[in-house]
Amino acid sequence: DAGITQSPRHKVTETGTPVTLRCHQTENHRYMYWYRQDPGHGLRLIHYSYGVKDTDKGEVSDGYSVSRSKTEDFLLTLESATSSQTSVYFCAISPRGARTGGSNGGYTFGSGTRLTVV
C-alpha cells in the first residue's frame, strides 16, 4: 500500500546486535502500531503510538523499544537481537485507533519485514 512502507523488507542479523526497523506513512494518521507474526501465535502487539513522542507497550514488548519523533515515522528497535525475535514484523496505521470502522476497517498494514536472527 502506497500510504505505508516498511524498511527493510528482509534482514538477517547476528545475535546480540542492535536492529532498527522503520515504518513510514504518508497518511498523517495519528496511531501507529508494531505487531509480530509467528506460526501458532497469530499477530501480537509489540508497541504502539498515539501521537508524536507518545508510545505504550503491547503484549510482547520485552526486548523492544520504539520511537516516534515525527508523525510519519515509527521506529522499532531490538536492542540486542535474540533468536526468539526471528519473526515477520508488521506496522499498522490508523486515523482514530482501533475503532476507525468504515470501509477501511481498523488498520492499514504495511507489507512486513522478515527478520532472521542467527
Partner: protein, 114 residues
C-alpha cells in the same frame, strides 16, 4: 491467556461451496470485531467488521455473524472462490479509547480448491 481464539488452524472447501470461519472471545468488554485476510508475503487487509449492537453484517459474498451471549462470531463466504485462499484473522477491540489496540486471533488458513 488468549482473549481471541480461532480454534481451527485450517479449513479446506471446494469452490462454490460455503466457507465458515469461527472465532471465540473471552473478554466481555470487546464490542467491535473485525476480520482481516492475509496473503503470503503481504500485510493483512481489512475484510469486514461488526459492532456489538448488531448481530449480522453483510458485504457481498462475506457475512459476519455475532452471538454475544456465546461470545462467538463467524465469517461466512458464499460462494467460495480459489482467490479466497488465504489466512483469515479475527480481531477485537474494547471501547473507543486512546491506546486501545486490536487483539488478534492466531488465524485460520482457508484453502479453496477448484
Amino acid at each position: 491467556d488468549q482473549q481471541v481464539k480461532q480454534n481451527s488452524p485450517s479449513l479446506s472447501v471446494q469452490e462454490g461451496r460455503i466457507s465458515i470461519l469461527n472465532c471465540d472471545y473471552t473478554n466481555s468488554m470487546f464490542d467491535y470485531f473485525l476480520w482481516y485476510k492475509k496473503y503470503p508475503a503481504e500485510g493483512p487487509t481489512f475484510l469486514i467488521s461488526i459492532s456489538s449492537i448488531k448481530d449480522k453484517n453483510e458485504d457481498g459474498r462475506f457475512t459476519v455473524f455475532l452471538n454475544k451471549s456465546a461470545k462467538h462470531l463467524s465469517l461466512h463466504i458464499v460462494p467460495s472462490q480459489p482467490g479466497d485462499s488465504a489466512v483469515y484473522f479475527c480481531a477485537a477491540s474494547a471501547g473507543n479509547q486512546a491506546g486501545t489496540a486490536l487483539i488478534f486471533g492466531k488465524g485460520t488458513t482457508l484453502s479453496v480448491s477448484s
